[in-house]
Structure formats: structure tokens, C-alpha cells
């Protein structure tokens, strides 16, 4: 450490001298002015070499194929070794990366041209056949991963999936670097949903689709086109990567990366003594880790949010639609009052070390489609307003026991269903109940206790009659399209709420006119205004992800979904 500091100091010294030199002598030759110019940049030249340890706190499964992996544990590994043809920017839009594309006027035919000379780790050249192969794997009848929805839009996939066609008619290879993909209908978010990861078709040749996920070529010796190649996999413990010299964006600076699994409780200590360089830290250790002097912290609002959902009814599985037949929370003023009664910032500060951003609409904070704050109602903590709304809605205390009765004068209770899992889950749920009690609502925990994750979703999904208000969380996709969770037909629409207008706007958002981005944004703003006002769920907060990186690692940057940006540019001060 000292040595590195010394080196840095002397470098800075040399630089400042060079700059000083050139300034004091206005009549310098072109040669010396050139050298001083190149050195004038305040940042130190990147150095080659060194290894970085990237840690994660859950054991990884080692399903190292994009088409099959399921969890973040394997996703992080794949981010080092493999890349897709398209990429998602910090603003959550999809951009060309290895592939450039053109689309036909009717937005149904996409022509992709990929870069030439991109190499797989085994030396094979990347061609569009590798992409075709990946799409065929996912569309295959034997495929048991979860990505079918990412190829479903291609023409001819249904026949291939059913086994009645030998190939997918919507995929046409024009030459090794050009491919044409035809989709069934024009949708503005086709490219956001289309599967864009190639798989090494030559390397995996001859392996049956049903054996792929457990094959040694996927589990022990996976290859990709990313900046680092897998050197050794110790199942569940670590993955050693080494530099891939033929990486298409140039040789990475680091010699290698070690991806290591650690116990979450040790994050602080391991960061401090330098055994771990980069990690997404558990929020419970935020205060201690913040005090460390050898790390930089990156705080980003995550693509997720927590909410308190109201139960409006049930999902009719036969008709495949939501039925809003539970009268209890149909009163909008009641729902809004319950939102005003909550001190959300107080909850974040007390139970999450302040690591949360309050939201009033189910849209990522960083999304381009998020409605401006001026268009939304903010349910800031205001118990007086809550009481007033409850009074107006007819929820008054008629029998004088300090608790409100419903408009018919009957006892009114609110039962909160919350998940167990962390040490703060119970006190946080109790705090929410307390806040509701303070405005006169008789709130209690569903069944008197927290529910374990699986039980929680069992109850919510099967519309258990005891479910009234439930505290859940959703991950958010980079594309703002809310379908899947909010429409009348969605079985994951857990509040079981919809309106015709909301459904219409969701459809409109991916409709024909939505190819105009301004129009599309306006549609989503209108939709957000509805769900913000109707409040079928109380939006709580987006958690803030905190990444810690040792100061010796340079060029590290995080966005709302990853810290593994341009890992080939990471370099360490030695």
C-alpha cells in the first residue's frame, strides 16, 4: 500500500514538473509540447497486470450458459466471460453493441450485422450461426429454462417449439455476419425482449438440448466472448478467470479476476483487509463499511421496489382474468389515507440505514419513462391528512374505543401479511402497524406472525381469504412496459386490480403509435398518473444498492443494475 502511494506521488510529481516546464517555456519545440500534452491528463496511465477479487454472498449454482442460468449468482459469473449482441445503457435503453441493426418500415424485419473478427475463448470466430443456435436452443421442445418468452415473438417459433418444423422460419442467415429476424407483430420493445446472447454452436455441437445444462462443457469448461475466460471452477466456492487476449475490444488490463463466495457477515472484515476488492454490500453493514478508508462506495437505486398491496379480489384461472370482488379496500380515500399515515422515509432510515429512495409510481427511478414528480401525488407522511381522509370516507370511531369502524359502523381491522427473512422484517412490520394505529386503524399482523417467503407467495397467489394488505417486492425490467403485472389478464397482478383505462394505456404503450418515443413516454406518464392516484398498492421505496470497491481498482463504475461495466478497462494500482 505504502509503495503504491509512493509510486503515485512520484508520478504526480513528475507530471506536474513536466506541465510546469512546458508552461514556463513558451517557445518549446513541437516534440516536447506533444509529450507534455499527453501527460497533462490528471489521471494515471492504466497499468496491465494484477488480479481483482469480486465477491458474492450466496453460493453459485454454476449453470454457466445464458440460456439456462437462473440467479444473480451465475449472472455475475457470466458477466465476466460473455456478452450479448445488444447492450442496455445506464438510461435503461437498448443499444447496439456487437451487432448493428436496421429495421424495416413496418418494424417486423430486423437485419443485424455483427462485427467481424470477434473470437470465442477457444479461438473460433463468432458468427451469426451462434446466435441462431442460441435461439433454437431456447425454442427447442426439450428446453426447460425460463427464456422462451424472449424468442416467442419470432415468426415460426411456435411450430419449432411444438416440434412440427425443423427450423425457425423467421430466422434467415444471409452471410456469416448478417442475419435477418422476422417477428410476428410490430412492437416497440421487440429489441428489449429479443434474446441477444450467442452460444458457441461449434463448441457445443452434438450435445442434445436436454443434456446441455448439465454438460461439462457448460458446467466445467464454459466459453464466451467476454474479456475474461474461465480458468478454474470450484463448485459453490470460486471461479478463477484469466485475461482473454483476443477480446474484441482489446486486451483487458487485469491478468485475472477471482469470483468468490463469502459469508455476508464477513463483508466488512474482508473488504478491510483487502481479501475482497469489489462486492455489493449487505445494507445491514453499511454503517461499518462506510467508515473504511480503503474503499469507494457506489450507491444506486436498484431496479426493484417494495410495496404494500391491497387485495381487491381474485384471479379467475379458468377465464384467465382478474375479478375485483373484494369490497374491503375499494374505497380510494381509505387507501390514500393509509398511504399518508406511513412515514416511509422514517422506515427507510430506521430499518435500512437510509438505503432507499421513496417512489410514488412503479417505475425505475432512472427510467426515461418515469413520470416527472410534478405530475404525481406524493404521499408524504401526514397523519392529519390521513385522519381527515378517513373521516371523509366514513371510517369513524363510533363506539369510542379509539379505533375506527367502517362506514356501516362495524369493527374494521386491517391485516398485514409480511415476509420474514431478515432481522429487520419483524420490527419494520410492527412499525407500519403502529403508524396505522396512530390514525385510528386497527391493524394487526396476518396470523400474528411473519410468513416465510414461499408461504407468503402461496397465500397471495392462491388468493387466500385472509390476505388483505401484503408487503411484497418486484424487480423491474429495463423496458417500462408494465404488462405481466398490471393487466386484467395477468396472474401476477397480485392486488387483483385493473381499470379499463389502465389496460388500454398499457396496450397503447407497445402499440403502433408508440414507435414515437415522446408519444410512448406520454402514455406511460398517463398510466402512472392513474396508478399513482388510484393507489392499488402503496409504493414504498426502491432499495439502494451499495457496491464497495477497493481504491486500488480503477475505472470502476456502477449503474442501477450492475457494477460490472466495461470490466476489460478495470485496472489496479500496483
Amino acid at each position: 500500500m505504502k509503495k503504491a502511494l509512493l509510486l503515485l506521488l512520484s508520478l504526480v510529481l513528475v507530471l506536474s514538473m513536466a506541465v510546469g516546464c512546458s508552461n514556463s517555456e513558451p517557445t518549446t519545440t513541437t516534440e516536447s509540447s506533444q509529450t507534455s500534452e499527453s501527460k497533462e491528463e490528471p489521471k494515471v496511465e492504466p497499468q496491465y497486470g494484477g488480479t481483482v477479487t469480486f465477491a458474492y454472498t450466496q453460493p453459485f449454482k454454476g449453470v454457466l450458459m445464458r440460456a439456462y442460468y437462473a440467479g444473480e449468482d451465475d449472472d455475475l459469473i457470466l458477466n465476466f466471460m460473455h456478452e450479448g449482441f445488444l447492450t442496455t445503457g445506464d438510461d435503461l435503453k437498448t443499444y447496439p453493441y456487437i451487432a448493428e441493426y436496421e429495421q424495416s418500415a413496418d418494424h417486423k424485419v430486423f437485419t443485424f450485422k455483427i462485427k467481424q473478427g470477434v473470437k470465442w475463448h477457444n479461438g473460433d470466430e463468432l458468427t451469426v450461426e451462434d446466435w441462431k443456435y442460441a435461439l433454437e436452443v431456447i425454442a427447442h421442445p426439450d428446453y426447460d429454462g425460463s427464456r422462451y418468452s424472449n424468442v416467442e415473438m419470432i415468426v415460426g417459433v411456435d411450430e419449432y417449439h411444438a416440434g412440427t418444423a425443423d427450423s425457425i422460419s423467421g430466422i434467415k442467415v444471409i452471410d456469416p455476419y448478417t442475419i435477418e429476424i422476422t417477428v410476428k407483430e410490430a412492437q416497440v420493445n421487440t429489441l428489449d425482449n429479443l434474446w441477444s446472447y450467442p452460444e458457441p454452436s461449434k463448441y457445443l455441437e452434438g450435445i442434445a438440448v436436454k443434456d446441455l445444462a448439465s454438460h461439462p462443457k457448460v458446467r466445467q469448461n464454459p466459453i464466451g466472448i467476454g474479456p475474461f475466460k474461465v480458468k478454474k471452477i470450484q463448485p459453490g466456492e470460486f471461479v478463477e478467470f484469466e485475461r482473454f487476449d483476443d477480446y474484441w475490444q482489446g486486451k483487458p488490463y487485469l491478468d485475472g479476476v477471482i469470483y468468490k463466495i463469502i459469508d455476508a457477515d464477513l463483508s466488512n472484515g474482508l473488504l478491510e483487509n483487502g481479501e475482497v476488492d469489489i462486492i455489493q454490500i449487505p445494507s445491514s453493514q453499511y454503517q461499518e463499511i462506510k467508515k473504511l478508508t480503503n474503499i469507494n462506495l457506489f450507491e444506486e437505486a436498484a431496479l426493484a421496489y417494495s410495496y404494500l398491496g391491497f387485495d381487491f379480489g381474485r384471479y379467475d384461472a379458468e377465464k384467465e382474468e382478474v375479478v375485483m370482488d373484494n369490497p374491503k379496500f375499494q374505497n380510494k380515500q381509505l387507501r390514500q389515507a393509509m398511504a399518508y399515515a406511513l412515514d416511509r422515509q422514517g422506515l427507510i432510515d430506521a430499518f435500512s440505514n437510509g438505503l432507499g429512495t421513496i417512489i410514488d409510481t412503479p417505475m425505475p427511478v432512472v427510467s426515461w419513462a418515469k413520470a416527472p414528480d410534478s405530475e404525481l401525488t406524493h404521499y408524504d407522511y401526514n397523519p392529519e391528512k390521513a385522519k381527515q381522509l378517513l373521516d371523509e370516507a366514513g371510517y369513524k370511531d363510533v363506539d369510542g374505543d379509539g379505533l375506527r369502524e367502517d362506514p356501516q359502523g362495524k369493527k374494521f381491522t386491517v391485516s398485514l401479511l409480511a415476509m420474514s427473512g431478515s432481522e429487520i422484517a419483524e420490527p419494520r412490520a410492527q412499525a407500519i402497524l403502529q403508524m396505522w394505529k396512530e390514525v385510528g386503524l386497527n391493524a394487526e399482523l396476518n396470523g400474528g406472525t411473519l410468513k416465510e417467503f414461499n408461504l407468503f407467495y402461496d397465500l397471495v397467489q392462491n388468493d387466500d381469504p385472509t390476505v388483505e394488505v401484503f408487503m411484497g417486492a418486484w424487480g423491474l425490467a429495463s423496458d417500462p412496459d408494465p404488462s405481466g403485472l398490471w393487466r386484467k389478464a395477468d396472474s401476477w397482478n397480485f392486488p387483483r386490480w385493473y381499470t379499463e383505462e389502465s389496460d388500454r394505456l398499457i396496450k397503447e404503450g407497445v402499440g403502433e403509435k408508440a414507435f414515437d418515443e415522446n408519444y410512448r413516454k406520454q402514455v406511460y406518464v398517463d398510466w402512472q398518473k392513474i396508478v399513482n392516484d388510484e393507489l392499488p398498492m402503496i409504493y414504498l421505496w426502491s432499495p439502494i444498492d451499495v457496491y464497495a470497491a477497493n481504491k486500488r481498482v480503477n475505472n470502476v463504475d456502477a449503474n442501477s443494475f450492475t457494477i460490472q461495466k466495461d470490466v476489460h478497462l478495470w485496472w489496479v494500482t500496483q
Binding site: P59, K61, G62, V63, Y68, A70, D144, S146, Y148, S149, A213, S214, R219, K232, Q234, P235, G236, E237, F238, E240, I258, K260, I261, I262, D263, D265, L266, G269, L270, E272, N273, E275, L303, E452, F453, N454, L455, Y457, D458, Q461, W474, G475, L476, A477, G484, L485, D490, S491, W492
Partner: protein, 321 residues
Amino acid sequence: MLTYTLRRIAVMIPIMILLSMVVFSLAKMMPGDALSGRIDPTNSSPEYISAMKEKLGYNDPVHIQYLRWMNDILHGDFGNSFIHKMPVSQLIGLRVYNTLFLTLLALFFTYIFAFIMGMYAGKHPYTLGDNMIATYNYLGFALPSFFAGLMAIYLFALKLQWVPASGSIGTGVDVNTIAFYVSKLKHTILPALVLGMLSTAGYTQFLRNDIIESSRKDYVRTARAKGTSESIIYNKHILRNSIIPIVTFLGFDIGGLLGGAVITETIFTYPGIGSLFIDSLTNRDYSVVMTITMMLSIMTLIGNLIADLLYGVVDPRIRLD
């Protein structure tokens, strides 16, 4: 002895069938399944989940599922792990050596320390040394292993940096070199010590009490009267008799060899059967959970059998017919 063994094994069969029913129904009674964790609009869809449930047979009647499972097991097929996407037997095979190494090392520590402390305390009861050992024993009983594990990591791995904090093997070592075995030992010694030292308490107390009791027996008095030296009396006459109750423990230890380290393995992120078990439970990876539970039950049955047989070996007064 042979007939006794055979009889015991015959009795084990209905027990195992009963066990398998209990294990299966308990596993199925857990809310949720391996697909509950997939409720995530960014990575899957309701259609995928219902299609997979059908494919995995979760929608069949319970008794059909049970019979299918039993049939597969009798054919040596323990099913596939849905989460890990590989056969359960392969998955367990990857981990079983780690766990065996850890628990055997822990057992080694347990016995060494228990014998030293137990014999000392039994020989010098109610002295300062005995009291200190007793204090240690109470601590050993009282300290939860996750706490002891974290303390040990903090002290020996993070502050003193003698050993690594987690994992079972270091990076950058090749298999079957000396460095490989050194690294393996370095990674295993701390969890093994924590595991071993905590369970020392029971053995020590047993041994101590038995030695004190034996030392008041007539045959010891006779030996003393004949002028036999104290060390021979303790190490030969008394110890042999006092080992007998310890044998009971040994049976349990064999049963616990594979599963006894659930918490310790999790804390040390040591990839053994224990951490796999916990992981599979939270993910509702049925096939893994059921296989491990069955395996542990059978190991316990066998451990008990071995303990009973060992009685006959160490204590000639016990006849097994």
C-alpha cells in the same frame, strides 16, 4: 453376533420405508416449491412456471409422486436438482468429500481434547484445573456454533490472518500437489476446530465423571493396595472401563458425520452437504432435500447399529445374540 446384526438390519427395512414416507410428506407439505423463487417478471413468466410444474409432475396426486420417487430410488436414480440442473447423486458426490474431511478432522479434535481434558479432570477432581475445564465445558455447551464460528473467523482469519476465512480450497492451486493438500488443510482446520471444540464438552464431562466413579471402585482400591503405580491404575485399569459410555457417542458421531455441520459449513461458506442442505431447503429443491434427509436417517440407523456392536467388543460382559 452375526444373527444379531442380521436381525437388526431386517428391522431397519420397515423403519426406512416409514422414514421415506415421513420425509416425503414433510417435504411436500412445505409451502412453495422450486418454482416459487422464480416469481420474477424480469426473468420468467407465469406460463413458464405452470408448464414446468406440469413437467416436473408437481400436479400429480401425492401418492403417485411418492411411488414414482421410491421407484426411481430403488433404481438408483435420486432425481435431478431443479436448481442446480444436475443429477442429485452427482451434486452430493461433489460435496461429500469436503464434509467427510471436515467432520473427521473435527471428530479427531474432539477425541484428542476430550481425552486429555477428561482424564486430567477425572484424575484431579475439584482442583483449579478441573474447575477450569468445567467452565470451558459449560461455555462449550452454551455457545451457539454460529457465534463461535464468527468469533473464530474474526480473530484467526481477519485479525491474525493465520487461516483463510471461508471456502474449502484456495485459488491457484493444482489438484493433487502438496500445495493443494496444504491449502485444503488450512481452509478446513478452523471450521473443524470450531466444530470439534464445541462438542468436546459432552465427552469430557462423561469421561471425567466415569473416571471419578471408577476410581472409587473396589478393584482400584485393590490395585492401589498391591502398590500399582497411579499412572498405570488410571491409564490402564480405569480408562478401559470408562471408555465404554463414550462408545455410545461414537455411534451418534458416525450418524452425524455427513450432516452434523450444517451451521458451521454455512458460516464458513464451506461447500459440503450441510450447506447444500440449507441452500436446497430455502430453494425448495425437493429432490436434494429428500435425498439428503434419507441419507442422514440411514446413516443414523447404521451409526446406532455400529454403536451396539461395539459395545460387545469393548465390554465382554455384553453378549449380543
